[in-house]
Symmetry: C2
C-alpha cells in the first residue's frame, strides 16, 4: 500500500474515529516466498483472525434449545420466527427481493439443520451448516442463513438483555451518520442532481453516494453523465459534503482509472466497484493506479477470498452485505481482517424491509466503521416502533436501538396476518 494512500484514508475516511483504534501496521504485499516471479501473498495474520470467535457465548449460562423455526409470508413479506424451548421468541424479516426465490432452500436446508440445536453454538453450527452446503455458496445459501441468524440474534438479545451489536462486539457507534444513496442511471446529470437534492433535503445527510458508469461494463448514458454529475454535485454542495461514487463494475481498467482521476479531482472519498466485482486482479490494478480509496466486496460470498482482496490491497474499504454474505458474524470477521490492515468497513446495504436496521446494528459494533453509512429508510409497509430510536435519520444521524435484540416491536396483528410456508 502506498504511503500516500494510507494517509489519504486516515485523513478523509476516519474523521470520526480515534485513529489509535486502528493499528496501521505495514500493509501486505506479495512476499518473497515462492519463485521470484511467483511471489505468494501471506495470509497468516488473516487466518489467525478467522479463528477468533465473534458471537459472545459467554453471556449465556444455560442452553437455549431451538424448538421451532417458522418461515411466514404475507404479501411477499417474509418473517422468520424462532422459539426456544423456554418460550422466548426471536423474529427477523427476510430479504425483500431475493427471499421469495429462496424459500425452498430455507425450508429444506436451513430449518431442519438448526431445529433442536443449542443457539449458543451459533458459530460452530454455522461452520457445520457451511460444510453441508458449500456447493451452494452465494446468495442462495447465505441469504437464508442470514435470515435465520438475525432471528437467533434477536432471540439471544432478548434472553441476555443485550442489543445485537453487543452480542457480536463492543458498541463503538451508538449513533451512525448516514449517507444518502442515489440509484439513478440513464437520466441526465441535471435531472439526477434534482433528485439528489430532494433526497438530501429529506435525509439531512452530510454525505452522498451516486452512480457512475452504466453498470457491469455498460456505457454511461447519456455519454459523459458521470463526469458532468460529479462536477454538478461538487459545485452544488461545496467542499463540506462528503461524496462517494459507485460504478457497479462499469469499467475496464483504463476507463476506471480515467474516471477515478476525475473523482480525485473533485475530492471524492471512495470509489466503489470500479471494474466488475469478480475482476480481482483488475480491481487491484485500479487501486494501485489511484489515490482514492477503492470500496468493494458486496458480491463476495467467501471469507477466504476476502483475504485476497485485503492482503493484496485491492480494496481499502470492505463492504460485506449483511444478507448476501450470510449475516453479522461472518461480516464481523471481514471487518476484523480489514482492521489489522488499517482498512475501513462500510457494509453494503442491499435491502428494503428491515435490511437497513440490520446494517445499523452491525455498524454499531465495528471499530473500523467508515464515517458515513448508507440509509435508504426502513420499509414503510412494516408497522414497527422502537422505544430507543426514531428509526429514521435525524439531521443525518441514525440512533441505533439499544435492544434487547433488534430493539423494535412489530405490531402483533401484522405478524398474525402471515401464513406459514410449508415444505
Amino acid at each position: 500500500m502506498k504511503g500516500n494512500r494510507r494517509k489519504f484514508i486516515k485523513n478523509t475516511l476516519l474523521g470520526g474515529i480515534a485513529t489509535s483504534a486502528l493499528p496501521l501496521t505495514s500493509c501486505g504485499t506479495y512476499d518473497e516466498k515462492g519463485d521470484s516471479k511467483n511471489p505468494h501473498l501471506d495470509f497468516s495474520r488473516l487466518n489467525e483472525i478467522l479463528k477468533q470467535p465473534v458471537f459472545k457465548k459467554e453471556f449465556f449460562s444455560k442452553p437455549v434449545i431451538i424448538k421451532s423455526i417458522e418461515l411466514l409470508n404475507f404479501n411477499e413479506n417474509y418473517l422468520c420466527r424462532i422459539r426456544s424451548e423456554d418460550g422466548v421468541e426471536g423474529i427477523s424479516v427476510g430479504h425483500p427481493f431475493q427471499q421469495k426465490y429462496l424459500n425452498s432452500l430455507f425450508i429444506n436446508r436451513v430449518q431442519p439443520f438448526f431445529i433442536g440445536k443449542d443457539a449458543r453454538d451459533l458459530e460452530s453450527l454455522m461452520e457445520n451448516f457451511y460444510f453441508s452446503n458449500y456447493k451452494l455458496q452465494g446468495l442462495a445459501i447465505w441469504i437464508p442463513f442470514a435470515t435465520l441468524e438475525f432471528a437467533i440474534l434477536d432471540l439471544m438479545g432478548k434472553i441476555s438483555n443485550k442489543s445485537i451489536g453487543q452480542l457480536i462486539g463492543t458498541i463503538h457507534n451508538p449513533k451512525v451518520s448516514i449517507y444518502t444513496a442515489n440509484g439513478d442511471r440513464d437520466i441526465s446529470a441535471e435531472e439526477t442532481l434534482e433528485r439528489i437534492e430532494k433526497e438530501v433535503e429529506e435525509s439531512q445527510a452530510k454525505a452522498i453516494k451516486y452512480k457512475v458508469g452504466g453498470r457491469m461494463r455498460r456505457k454511461d448514458n447519456p455519454v459523459g453523465r458521470s463526469e458532468k454529475l460529479t462536477q454538478l454535485i461538487r459545485k452544488k454542495y461545496g467542499s463540506q459534503m462528503v461524496l462517494y461514487a459507485d460504478s457497479n463494475g462499469s469499467y475496464t481498467v483504463d476507463e476506471a482509472i480515467s474516471i477515478g482521476k476525475v473523482l480525485e479531482d473533485y475530492k471524492l472519498d471512495f470509489y466503489e466497484e470500479p471494474v466488475p466485482f469478480d475482476e480481482y486482479e483488475e480491481t487491484r490494478q485500479v487501486s494501485q493506479a489511484l489515490q482514492i480509496p477503492i470500496a468493494g466486496g458486496e458480491q463476495e460470498p467467501s471469507l477466504r477470498q476476502f483475504r485476497w482482496l485485503i492482503a493484496s490491497d485491492a480494496l481499502q474499504i470492505v463492504q460485506p452485505d449483511q444478507f448476501y454474505f450470510g449475516g453479522m458474524i461472518r461480516s464481523m470477521k471481514v471487518a476484523r481482517m480489514a482492521e489489522i490492515y488499517g482498512k475501513v468497513c462500510t457494509p453494503h446495504m442491499s435491502a428494503g424491509g428491515l435490511g437497513n436496521l440490520y446494517v445499523m446494528h452491525f455498524v454499531s459494533a465495528i471499530p473500523n466503521a467508515g464515517p458515513y453509512h448508507e440509509f435508504k429508510g426502513l420499509s414503510k409497509d412494516l408497522p414497527i416502533v422502537s422505544s430507543t430510536s426514531s428509526l429514521a435519520s435525524e439531521n443525518g444521524v441514525f440512533n441505533v436501538p439499544i435492544g434487547p435484540g433488534l430493539g423494535i416491536e412489530i405490531d402483533p396483528d401484522y405478524i398474525k396476518k402471515h401464513q406459514l410456508i410449508k415444505a
Copy 2:
C-alpha cells in the same frame, strides 16, 4: 510453469491426443507491470478468447423463436421442455439433487427472460441474462440456466441435424474413455478397495479416481486411510492403471504438499482440490511445490475468476461442471482458455439424471480433453434409448450419441407422467 511440470502433463495426460493440437506456449506468470512487489497477472490473451463466440449460429438461416418453456415434475425428476414457434421440441433433465431447490428461480428468472426470444441468439441472451441476475452468481442461477441451455441445444440440434457437440465445437472425441469414481470416505482402505474392484469390474474402466482426506478441512478417517489406499490401489492394479485422487479441499497447504508427494511416489496423474476450493492463493502454492498436475474449478462460478486460476498456473487441469457453471457454452470458454496455456479440461460431473450424458457431449467437442472422464452411469429411472450409443461403458469407452441434439429418445409415456410446475 515449471518445465518439468509441463512435460509431465504432456506425457501422462494427453496420451490420447495429438500434442500438435495444443500450442504449448510459455505459460503466464506474474509480469513486470505494477510495483516490483506487486506484479500483475496478464489476462490479455484470455480476455481475447472470452470474446470469441462458441455457439454455431451460422447453422441456422432463419429465426427459432422460443414459444414455450415448461418446467415439469414427476417424483422429483424435473424436465425442461421448450417448443419453437415452428413446433420443434427440445428437452433437458434438470439437476437431480439441486433443481428442486431452484424451481422458483427457474420459473421467475429464467423462463420469462427467454420466452419469445430467438434461440439463435443464445450466446448474447446469456450475456443479458447474466446482467440481470449477476448478484445471484453461483449454483442458484447457473443450474437453472444450464437446464434451459441443454434444452435449447437439444432443440437446435434437431433443427440443424447436428449433435450438441457440433453446435459448440468440432467433434474431437466421438468415443470417450472413462474413469470410474469411488466416493467413499470414513471406511477402511481395505473396504474401499473392495468396492473399487467391483466398480472397475462393472465399468471396465482403465482409470480410477478415489477420495483422499476428509473433505473441506476434515481429517482423514480412519487416520492414514489416504496413504494406505493409494498404496493398495497401485499394488492391486499395477502401473498400467491410471489413478487420480480427489481431496475435496481437505488439506492445509503443508498437508496438501505432503500427501501430494505420496501421490507422486505412486505415480498418480492428477490431484483434485488439494485445499478448499476458494483458497486460490493456496492452490497455487501447492501447485508450485508439486509436479503432479492439480485439478480444480468445480466450484468456480465466474469466467473472470477462472482466468486467475489459469494464468497464475494454480491449476493444470480445469474442471467446470456443466450444471454448476451454467452450461456448455460457458464451459467451452474455460476449456479454450486452458488450451492456450497448454492445460487440459476434464469437466466435473456433479449429477445423476442425464448429467453424465451432457458431460460426454461436451467432452466430444473439446480439443484439450483429458484422456479419461468421469462416468457414473445415467439414471436407471429414466427410460431412454439411443440408436447410436448403448449409453453405457463398453470396455471402458462411452460412445457419444451422434445426435440430432442430445441423440436420445425419452419414452413419451414417461414424459406424460410429469406435471407442469406453476409459478
